[in-house]
Structure formats: structure tokens, C-alpha cells
Symmetry: C2
Subunit: 411 residues, 2 copies
């Protein structure tokens, strides 16, 4: 395994040295090759699908189709069209002693990604890492292994044809040993990003000896304040809960101010059309029980749950502070929202809530790199060291200090 | 121990909510209180010193004196005078859908620091963390425990008098159990910074389940290029090696281009006055053996050693590329320098060397937060995630995304 890491590190150096134009050309060539290799990719994907229960919710995520390959290629061409995140001068000053000091954005070198059963991640990750001048070391899920190997074969074919080290896209075996080796690749891999569920993230965080960026897990709250606008609240809760239930920015807990309990039936009414099950605390249960069709009592476990489903819990509070305390206790630092027409409450919420993305009168469904105008996204960081929130190309860079003198010495 | 972490987290929230002026007042009050508590601090320090062998190199680092306490207080007042790193707006845009998107610098929350036998670190770390709106959880060395406890008692006295939670400066017991608890304080401590030698850094990196910033270890090279200016080279090598040998930016390996071997005696001559022992590779040994007094043959172990002493190794290379390969193999990504009058060589070196600080015609002794104009420094990061190189106040902040709308929803 170490040989693979050494090759990836060398490949990272050579990718860093390419021009942005060259890297973009390579990405467009890979996109073309993906489209013209559909048969090969679909055949490999069929092998993976044959081993998966079609009733599993993973089946659809694992599946490649003609249209999905076109979409992956289009995303790759889009990445090629973005401005380079490299070479940005973050600081440039001449010190009193005449030394010129510059802080310049550079690639990490090698980025490791551990993920589950979505073969499109393989190609998304490659394109973002390559565009930002990095090699990537990929450890995909066993379920998608044939698809991932086929995808990387296509990428490496293009890299080799263009004279780029194929190890710039390194796929590890889909084994636990490979995952452990990656998490221990001190000196070879500069950062590792897990993409997947809570269990995967915890495994990576607990075992990585290389720097790690935790992504994705989202226990997401929306607080309907005493001064909340009912129409805005209805729209935001509905959008945040039902737009896509399987994504990390989806709403899990509606917190409602007790002064607005009488509006709760109207606030929740649109959810019934999507068959959202509501787990209600005692006070909210009392006002919903005769009007909302899919109602259960909340249990202590309901709070702090990332449902990933048409399910939501309701908590009643008596103050903004109690809402923020609830978020501090149960939220995962991903995305939190307040619905209010009170500017003081909005300001206190944005100042006091410790999360990557804090919304006022907008749904958490906007937490997304493309929505934020970052062009693309490799994940949503829920930690504070390094990138936080949606991670675009800039999040795949670090910087170095360049100091130029003419023989000055330090007293 | 968990109770301490919970208190620190709550204290962090309250420190974040203070105004910069208030925080500065508190720091100045702590500085005053340190000066008027000298007797108490020196008595505690005497307890620690009594347990330490006066011949140990650690003895001097452990010692507090009247003048050193004044210096610590002066540093704290200086930190109070710096601009706040908080509230900086890193991005502010209105998206096409009318959402206002801002990215704003905020404190981490709780910063953990594990360090060795220097009691001044306790107060330096507190002042930087407090200024940047964070609580700190400190785990000092056993040798300095009485001094650290006395220092934190002074700080907490002032905090309490000003109505700030004393847990904003939390000192853990000087035990292994405390260190382990800190490294596992997931959900309470946002980042941990080791300050000390290689062994401490490795221990933290290998055991932390919370994000960690590796600092300090510096295997530092300077490359005297075929086109190097001899006078500049002499000054830089002398300054980088002998200014202070016990610091991480001190020179460890001089790499010399074979075309300039005849200049090596002149390049090294000043070092003899400081009794620097040179470990020379075969070719450099041959030219130095009749002229340099303190000469030994290099062994394979000499390369990659952080000497922390009046010792230096010399490696002869035949090209810039070979010098960069040597640095990639043996350097620690801290500080690297080239002496050259060839702009192409300088540019290739700054582009190709993967280190936090890359110098041209200047000594690595400049790698320091104050020298870089950062005002103060909590350490020098040798990793790429988060801060890299000298870490000032901004390195103790993260950011959050604040999104404000009026009921927009995502299609």
C-alpha cells in the first residue's frame, strides 16, 4: 500500500506543476472519454448492481445510467470552466527590513477521500482535486467497486495519454485494510475527507492519524420565533423538510415558540401532503392531535436524530434562548435557521448559534456549494479547523509563505 | 474531567459574546495583577525549580524571574493592543435569488494546548485565546505544575472579579490521564495544539480524536546554489545556525552545489567562532578537512535531524533538483531557504519546495509571528489543514456563513 501512497505523492507534485489550462484540457478530455466509454462503465456498474438488493435504498444511489454519465461529464466540464483556486495572493507586504512577504494559495498535495456506494463521487472528487492541483487517493465502498474501478480506468487512460502520472487518481482496494492504511498515511496524504453517514465519519475521526475534515452529518433545526411570519415559516419548513429528505441539510427538528403554538397547525399543514410523520413534544402534540394526520409523541431519542426521511420532530420552547440551548445541545453544527420579523432576535440567533451556516428567514436547503456560488462542492464541513460549511475548490488548497530578501539577517 | 470541559465550553460561549474593548481591559488587568503577584508566582516557581536538576537544559526554561514576569505582562498588554481577529467579513455577496451571504470570522470556542516545561506558555496561550474570543484548556508539564497553577490562579482571580467565567482559563492536572481526556474531548474542545518536542507532537497527532494543529518540529535546510552570493550566503548561514540554536527555525542542514565546493571554507568560516560542529558528507569533508576545526563525517542519521544545538550537517548536490529532492525527503515542511542570484532558480525553489515558509536570500530565523508582522504567535504550524507557518490571532478563529433572506426557497 505504501508504494501506492508514494506514487500518489509524486503525482501530486507533478499535478501541482501543471498550468491551469492544461489541467482544464485534461478534465475536458476525461469528460469526453467518460461519454464515449459509457458501455464499459455501465457493464461494470451492472456487476455491482447484480450484487445489490434492488429493494435497498442504496440501489438507486449505486446505479449509473446513460443520463447520469452525461451529467457527471457535464459537471466535470463545469469544474474545468471555474477559475483556478491556486496562486491567489492572500497577503503581500514589504516588512520594515525590506523583506517581501507573500502568502500564496497552493494545493494540499494529496487528498484522501473515503466514501460509500455512489460511483459518481469517484469522478466528482477526482475533478475537484485535479482542478485544485492535488492528487487524490480514493477508498470507495465495496458495493461500488467494479464501477469505481471502471471509472478510474477511464481517468487514468486519459492521464497517461496526456503524460500525467496516472497515480493522480489512485483507487485503493475496497477493504478495511486499505481504509486503515489511508488513515495512517502520515507523510503521504495531507488530509482525509470522509463522505458518508455518521458511522463512517466517526470511524475516520477516531482512527485518522492524518488531518481529517468531518463532513456531512446534519441534525438540522429551524426555529419559528414569537415574531415569525407564518407564510414565510410555512414555505421554509416545507422546503427544508421535503425538498430532498436524504440530504444532510434537510430539516430534522422544528422548534416553535410557545406563543405561536396556535399557528402550528397552519405551519405544518403543507407537510401532510408529503406524508411527513411528526413526532411532537407534549405541548405541540396537544395542538396538533386533532388536525395533523401523521402524528406520534416525541421520545427523548427523537431530538438529535438525523432522520433522512419524511419525519420531523417538534420541540416547544418559551424563549429564543431556550431555542438556542436546544440547538447547542442537539444540533450538529451544520445548518440552523430562524424565522422571525424581529431584527434583534435574528441578530442574536446569528451571533449565538455555533454552526457552519446560520439562516434568517431562509431554509437550510440552501446549504450547498453551488447554491453559495462556489461553483462546485466536495462536501460540507461540520468542523472548525480548515474549511467550514460548503467546501468548494478553495477548500482544497492550503497556502505557503514566500519570503524574498537580499541578505537581511535577524538581530 | 468532563465537568471541566463542559465549563470550558460554556466559558468559551461567554467570552465570544464580550466586546473587544472588554476583553482588552481584562487582559490589561491580568497583566497588572501578574506584576503585583510576583511574590506568589516566584514562590510557586521555586517549588518547581527545587524538583529540577539545575544542570538540566530545562532549568532555565522553567525559571521565572522578576524581569520575565514583567516581560510576560508586557506581552499580554501588547496582545490587548492588537486589532481583534473577530468579525472580519471574509465574503459578502447577494446571490441572484436575493439571499445575502456573508462569511464572518468567529472564535473556535475552546482551544486545547498541551505543552512542556515553560510556565510563560500558560500566560501567552491564555492571552491569545482570550483576545480571539476563545476559552483555553491547558495541559502543562508536571515540572512546571506549581508555576502553572499559580499563574492560572492569578488569571482566574481577575476573570472572576470582572464577571467572566474563570473556566475561560482551565488548567488540567499535569497527568497522562488529563492529556488523554483532552485529546478525546469530542464535542467540547474544538482544536488541540501541541507545543513541544517531536515526541509530544507525535503523541498528540497519534491519539487526538479532535482536530489537531501540529506545530514546531523543524528540520530546516538552506541551499547554497551554483549562483549563490558568497557574502549573502555567509551571513544567512551564520544567522540561521547561530542566532538561537534551540528554536525550531534554526538551520540543521546546509546543502551546497558541487560547483561551489571551493567556496565552502569561506561560507562556513564564521561558524567556527561559535564552535559549530559540522557533520560533512564525503565531498564537503574533503574541502573542509584542512580548514574547519570542528569537523566530523556525516552519517545517514545526520540528515533529517533537528539538532537544537551548535551542530549542522552538509550535503553536496549537483543540481537544484537534487537539493529540492533532499528537502522533500528530509525536511519537515517548516522553513527552507535558497541563496541564489539566479531568478529562475529562486522561482523554481519557491514553487517546488513544499514547506510553510520558503525563503530566497534570507535566513530561516525570520520564521516567527512577530517578524511576519502578525503581532503575536501561538506556534508555527507544520501541517496544511488550518493555519500553516506562524500562527497569529487569526489562526485562532474559524468562520461561519450567515445567510439572510425573506422567505426564498430552493427549487
Amino acid at each position: 500500500m505504501e508504494a501506492l501512497f508514494i506514487q500518489a505523492k509524486q503525482a501530486g507534485k507533478s499535478v501541482a506543476g501543471l498550468s491551469d489550462d492544461f489541467r482544464n484540457d485534461v478534465l475536458r478530455a476525461v469528460a469526453d472519454e467518460l461519454v464515449s466509454s459509457k458501455e464499459e462503465l455501465l457493464r461494470a456498474n451492472a456487476e455491482d448492481l447484480a450484487r445489490m438488493d434492488p429493494a435497498s435504498p442504496l440501489y438507486d444511489r449505486l446505479m449509473l445510467t446513460d443520463a447520469r454519465i452525461d451529467a457527471i461529464a457535464a459537471d466535470m466540464r463545469n469544474v474545468a470552466s471555474l477559475p483556478s483556486p491556486l496562486g491567489r495572493v492572500l497577503l503581500d507586504r514589504v516588512l520594515p527590513n525590506g523583506l517581501q512577504l507573500r502568502k500564496v494559495a497552493v494545493p494540499f498535495g494529496v487528498i484522501g477521500v473515503i466514501y460509500e456506494a455512489r460511483p459518481n463521487v469517484t469522478l466528482d472528487v477526482f475533478s475537484l482535486c485535479f482542478k485544485s492541483g492535488n492528487a487524490c487517493v480514493l477508498k470507495g465502498g465495496k458495493d461500488a467497486d467494479a464501477s469505481n474501478r471502471a471509472a478510474v480506468a477511464v481517468v487514468q487512460r486519459v492521464l497517461a495519454a496526456r503524460g500525467v502520472a496516472p497515480a493522480a487518481a489512485t483507487l485503493l482496494p475496497a477493504t478495511h485494510e486499505a481504509a486503515n492504511a489511508l488513515l495512517n498515511a502520515v507523510g503521504y496524504v495531507d488530509v482525509v475527507i470522509p463522505r458518508g453517514g455518521r458511522r463512517l465519519i466517526d470511524f475516520v475521526r477516531d482512527n485518522a492519524r492524518i488531518p481529517c475534515i468531518e463532513t456531512g452529518a446534519g441534525v438540522v433545526n429551524t426555529y419559528f420565533d414569537a415574531a415569525g411570519d407564518l407564510e414565510i415559516g410555512k414555505a421554509i419548513v416545507f422546503n427544508a423538510k421535503t425538498r430532498r429528505v436524504s440530504v444532510c441539510n434537510a430539516l430534522d427538528c422544528l422548534i416553535v415558540h410557545s406563543a405561536r403554538l396556535q399557528d402550528l397547525p397552519a405551519l405544518c399543514a403543507p407537510l401532510a401532503a408529503k406524508n411527513v410523520t411528526i413526532y411532537a413534544d407534549e405541548r405541540s402534540f396537544a395542538v396538533l392531535k386533532d388536525v395533523y394526520p401523521l402524528l406520534c409523541p416525541a421520545t427523548p431519542d427523537s431530538f438529535g436524530t438525523e432522520f433522512m426521511d419524511y419525519k420531523m420532530v417538534i420541540r416547544t420552547v418559551d424563549s429564543l434562548q431556550e431555542a438556542m440551548d436546544h440547538i447547542a445541545q442537539y444540533g450538529s453544527g451544520h445548518s440552523e435557521s430562524i424565522v422571525t420579523d424581529d431584527p434583534a432576535a435574528a441578530a442574536a440567533f446569528q451571533a449565538g448559534v455555533d454552526a457552519a451556516c446560520v439562516y434568517v428567514n431562509a431554509p437550510t436547503s440552501f446549504t450547498d456549494g453551488a447554491q453559495f456560488g462556489l461553483g462546485a462542492e466536495i462536501g460540507i464541513s461540520t468542523q472548525k479547523l480548515g474549511a467550514r460549511g460548503p467546501m468548494g475548490l478553495e477548500a482544497l488548497t492550503t497556502y505557503k509563505w514566500l519570503i524574498t530578501g537580499h541578505g537581511q539577517t535577524r538581530p
